[in-house]
Symmetry: C2
Subunit: 423 residues, 2 copies
């Protein structure tokens, strides 16, 4: 299967170029390149090609609960809005919610994401049909007791037993929710299960001061150290949030080779009280990714908006307008600074054809003085004209197949789910 993109602008080339794609990967790049005769071609005239973005932390199906409870204290939001609705979620709900999230990500230039949620089969089916890449989190939480944990273990074992090892766009990972919502026994089970299957482990860590204090009270140490005692801090560990990590914890995380994922909008919206310590993490060489978190706590999955918020809040927190410059924010949003998420963000022969065509002529992108600056500070996901993943065109001229049906299904299901708890 081949596709040739023609007449595109690509940074580093003076002339318009073509990109020839074969079997999901870039085969050749250059001006005047010809594709095979009669093979599909895509005219990118007036557009700039850039690598797709990587949403390193989300809960895709939570599009179902977008707007179901905003401007509330965290525990009110969870107890009164999110958890009652989640308790009623079916696998079919999760399928449709994830489908909507995939459409939203495709429309805003995300080509791959890391997800953790319930009903993993529904999630996998939705992503498979969407054409995106995902690191799919097999959830573990046992806050409601041992049976809940056992059900999570059963689902994880089943998914691993039944999965098609050739399905390379869907990578299973283990997703224990957090150190306060999973027992030490089940966290140790996660460590062993992940080791046995060579899985990455994704966990929320150090999101709120409450979590840090609770860990100190219960375990006599801070969250990263506690995680380490459980065998969950290593090169396959992905730690979401990490807002309140102190220097000793960052030293340990760097030593173990784990990855951090920041979710600036979610942290600000929930007013957790701190800002992700990017400068201190980067100084230690810790890999960093960028995530939107779920649509119930953002409430958008647009990583262009997330890049801007990330850059703004880093500048603010450090009192330095030169902090988190646009090219660095772009690198992070493209996953270039977090190789555990896959070698993304590179347009070169041999690399996956995960590409965006950007409408650099949109009025918010004019004048074209600085592409990185325009992408981070001026753009939203609406500047993406075409989204290509593994050589397959998932959106062209902002049209995504099946979008209307997905929007109608999610609307109907969300209204039913939240009927008892209208906001």
């Amino acid at each position: 299967m081949t596709l040739t993109i023609e007449n595109a602008v690509l940074e580093g080339y003076a002339d318009l170029i073509s990109i020839r794609i074969r079997d999901g990967r870039i085969e050749a790049i250059g001006p005047g390149l010809e594709g095979p005769e009669h093979a599909p071609r895509l005219d990118a005239a007036g557009m700039t090609v850039i690598p797709g973005l990587v949403n390193a932390h989300t809960h895709a199906a939570m599009t179902l609960l977008r707007g179901a409870g905003d401007d509330l204290p965290l525990m009110t939001w969870l107890n009164e809005r999110i958890w009652p609705a989640e308790a009623r979620l079916s696998e079919e709900d999760v399928y449709w919610g994830t489908r909507l999230a995939c459409v939203e990500m495709i429309r805003s230039g995300t080509v791959a994401f890391q997800d953790g949620y319930w009903h993993v089969h529904g999630m996998a089916r939705a992503v498979r049909e969407s054409g995106l890449r995902v690191a799919l989190g097999l959830a573990m939480v046992d806050a409601q007791g041992g049976e809940q944990g056992d059900a999570c273990k059963k689902a994880a074992r089943e998914f691993m037993a039944q999965r098609d090892p050739h399905e390379d766009r869907i990578q299973p990972i283990l997703f224990p929710h957090a150190i306060y919502s999973v027992s030490p026994e089940n966290l140790r089970w996660c460590a062993r299960f992940a080791d046995d299957h060579g899985l990455n482990v994704h966990i929320h860590l150090s999101e709120t001061p409450w979590e840090v204090n609770d860990c100190l009270n219960r375990h006599g140490m801070r969250p990263a150290f506690y995680l380490d005692t459980l065998g969950l801090l290593h090169q396959r560990s992905i730690l979401a949030h990490g807002v309140f990590l102190d220097d000793d914890e960052l030293d340990l995380i760097a030593l173990r080779g784990a990855t951090l994922v920041t979710n600036p909008t979610s942290n600000l919206k929930l007013a957790v009280g701190g800002i992700f310590p990017h400068e201190r993490a980067a100084a230690r060489g810790i890999p960093v990714g960028l995530g939107s978190d779920g649509a119930a706590s953002n409430n958008s999955l647009d990583l262009f908006a997330e890049m801007k918020t990330f850059a703004l809040i880093q500048k603010h927190a450090r009192g330095d307008p030169t902090a988190m410059p646009a090219p660095l924010a772009l690198d992070i949003a493209m996953g270039r600074k977090a190789p555990i998420l896959g070698q993304t963000g590179i347009i070169a022969p041999g690399h996956p054809a995960d590409l965006l065509l950007i409408r650099t002529h949109e009025c918010g992108m004019v004048p074209p003085l600085n592409l990185a600056s325009n992408l981070v500070y001026a753009a939203t996901g609406a500047v993406v004209d075409t989204t290509i993943v593994a050589g397959r065109v998932l959106m062209h001229h902002r049209f995504v197949e099946g979008e209307g049906e997905i929007r109608r299904e999610v609307t109907a299901r969300a209204l039913a789910l939240t009927r008892l708890h209208p906001s």
Copy 2:
């Protein structure tokens, strides 16, 4: 001239409604309303009508310098990028830069704005042709000496002498730049000129700690008190930024009846080191508006994005997720909390027909659980389908007349202006 909007959703009505517009104002609202036979009608099926947004502080023509210098310290940015380019700006440049800003604002749902910049005739011509409303700032700055101040006074006098008093979409205001860039003599001249002509006065105030310290050193008092000694603090005063106002200054501002305008993205991007004290301002009943600042320091004019950043940073600064809830952010962005900017944000008979049709079916706006939350936290300006100002349709189905030519002109002029100082 009449226009009837049909089949729209409007909050407060169970059925689809029509809005009949005559001579720029709303004449009637209701289900099953008929427009005059053969008069223009606009089908809003599937869309929700909301009031247009008001950008209370910008420098529209600075779209010419979008991306010309980002991630730089303030003085490097001004000295090396902005001021050298601004020194070369012609009235024709300002005309085209303002045209582009108007297109960008129309596309993102802004119906009126307050502007301060050079070449006021170019600004006025651009806004007149765009169809938007503007409070047009007659600039005053004399940092380069008395001749500069004299030229500003001459331009202000000329504009007032030549203006058409029947042109109700363009309201002149006086725009002394700041207390550190205009001499006390010329600030007093501004106070008198504004009094003589009944003009509002718009000024940057308390944007940085440097400005506060400079004022204390030079005048022995904080900025709001200094402004008061010059006769510039009253019910026609509009103070942009106001980040570092202390309680005594806020008391004085409340007593004098002046208005504050916050520009959260600009403040964060320049890392000024503080957050607008909305809670303390609101507690005193001070009117508050929301602005994008210029495209060189944001770098977007999308007030939907600005609302979200405003809500997020207020929650963060106050450590309270219930702070700046979505409906309040919307009220402020619609100008409902700053009546000096005009009685905006009301859809009712007799009020100006400044309306937006929102694509509530866009995938980022689904599910429709909470309109205010979706508008503030999930939307960008791209959800605006149709923008109507004074009953005139400025954008329909995202098409704005003349946009292509404007983008090409601005691109050519911006490249010429910044050629000596490429970023």
